[in-house]
């Protein structure tokens, strides 16, 4: 699989790195991309299994329809899923954490350390089998949807502790 290019292109790299302040030396960290891609593909297979099973138990044009739906879903989503999983990356800057991802819809999230209320580590069954987990950051806003999937548990715990310490130091009241 070809390495997906960074979502916002080369020029955004320059802007982003100029914002780092004291922590300018820090680079982008990537996640366990292969396993993350595998996890999302396994999830896709589970999703495809539903119409496939229905197709197996029915007959005639209904069977044809469900089989086509299953095949179409599989073909259309297989490669984009893998590629989009490869776009996840994050960066610890002086004052905030920058997460950036997305293939079709590209998204860059900035979460200031001083605004983190708590940090979760979650892992679903598929993720656990593959030995990865998702780090979730919560602020006082329900709108902030900041997460980093595809982290190895050991790294996730280190990151969580680091973020907690940074948050403690810079905590700002509401």
């Amino acid at each position: 699989m070809i390495e997906a290019e960074p979502p916002f292109g080369a020029e955004s790299e320059v802007i982003a790195s100029s914002a780092g302040g004291a922590a300018d030396g820090d680079e982008w960290h990537t996640v366990a991309r292969g396993r993350l891609a595998l996890a999302s593909r396994i999830r896709l297979l589970c999703l495809v299994a539903v119409p496939a099973v229905i197709a197996g138990f029915t007959g005639g044009s209904v069977r044809l329809g469900f089989a086509a739906a299953a095949a179409g879903l599989l073909v259309l989503a297989w490669f984009p899923l893998g590629r989009s999983a490869r776009t996840w990356r994050f960066r610890e800057r002086g004052e905030d954490l920058l997460i950036d991802h997305g293939l079709l819809v590209r998204k860059q999230v900035v979460v200031p350390y001083g605004r983190m209320q708590f940090v979760d580590i979650v892992a679903g069954p598929v993720e656990r089998v593959l030995g990865i987990c998702t780090l979730r950051l919560h602020t006082a806003s329900a709108a902030s949807d900041a997460r980093i999937p595809g982290l190895e548990p050991r790294l996730a715990e280190q990151l969580r502790d680091r973020l907690a310490a940074l948050g403690e130091a810079r905590m700002a009241g509401l």
């Binding site: 006082a140 806003s141 810079r170």
Partner: protein
Amino acid sequence: MTQAAGVDWSVPRRTHPWSILVNAVHEARRVVSGLVVAVVSGRALGGGQLVEVLIPAAAGLLGVLAWLRTSFRVAPEEFRLDSGVVFRQSRTARFDRIQAVDVDQPVLARLFGLAELHLQLGGGRHGHFRLACVRQEEAARLRAFLLSRVEQITAVESAAGHSQQTDVVVGGEARHPSGDTSPSLAISGAGAGTVTAPAYSAGVPYRLQIDEAPLAVVPHGRFIASWALSPAVWFAALAAAASITVVALGSAQVLSGTLPSTIAAVGLAWERLQRYYGFTLSLSGDGIRLRHGLLNRYAQTVPVSRLQAVEISLPLFWRAAGWARVRMNVAGYAHGGGRGESGRRTTALLLPVAPIDEAFAVVGHLLGAPLSEIPLRPAPSRARWRALIWWRAYAYGFDETVVITRRGLLHRRYAVIPHAKVQSLHLVQGPWQRSLSLATVALHTARGPVRILLKHHDIAEAQEFLTQQSRRSATARRSVRELASENP
């Protein structure tokens, strides 16, 4: 104040005895429906006439017990409320978590000269305290005390040992008041001097008298006119007219179908009139005070530093009159501030109706930024391919204190957020936006009616804004911390 100096909140105190009645009315829906069910089923089981006496008596006894078992007290760091007959509940509200303090007076409580105290803690669904009821002046004094502690603790939090420097005269030296009857826990009357409210403007705290300085008063005529010009009221009028017609035609079956929704619509319209009638926004020593209400009286107090974001909206139907409505995000208000009490959802209103200029002036004054002087940058004209007509509405601007965004053509909305209140931010670009080199930036704030979105701006500009804004917010947060620590 006659007996003022003697109030000591560090010992557990009971609410006023009339609370039993007020609380029964507050729980009316549950109490009445419960009573009806109990009486009907009691009769069905053959209890005879006796149940009609016994069950209400039991309910009354339960109310008395609930009152006997409810007490509150002020501990050095928190407010405590113990309650519950069968299941005991002991809740504590840390002073530094208090987002807003409301003193409400339902009609019945008003008759007895009582008031309910509501504490908003911003902690999600259960972050709300209701203390019902205490005497009105006691509620006011408790509010003044709690709010002074909020400011003090925010100031002390990062002061690292400079606590004696905080200039809060109310309960001044009480950083670690002991449990005994130290005068620090008692508010000494109304003439309690001045307190310092933190302001964003220029980073310098300004002094205010503790008595209130009205910033905006909504005249009754304007309020009623604006109320009559709202779709909810039209809908209620239509529904009521339809119901009356149905009655006149004598088709009772249709009525039983439409009646509940009619009652709901009329109730909503009435609630709006009742709740926001006689609205006064003033600035007092402990924050923004909103007083309103026709039958029930409400007094909300939000410390200026707890204001997360503000929206000035210009509804279509008010355009001819040139009026605006102002809403705010305050942590805690968005959750309805309680268990589904009607109307509670809309308490995030800062001004129900005001001329546009006045609305901008008031918000600008509160946030310390000259809003109308901030130049707005419109979305580029190529955004028309993404948002056909509406692209003209999108614009944003910022100065050293706030970010302001504009959206909506028919219903225009200006959202304002102080840099220090940005929780997190993101930049998002969909495929269609990418082909036009556009992007959307969102600034996240505590939950509430206000959303801050910079839609469909040039990608390079949006990138630059994201970077600069995270820096501006970091600087603003730092200066708020420093301001709090060196509060003179």
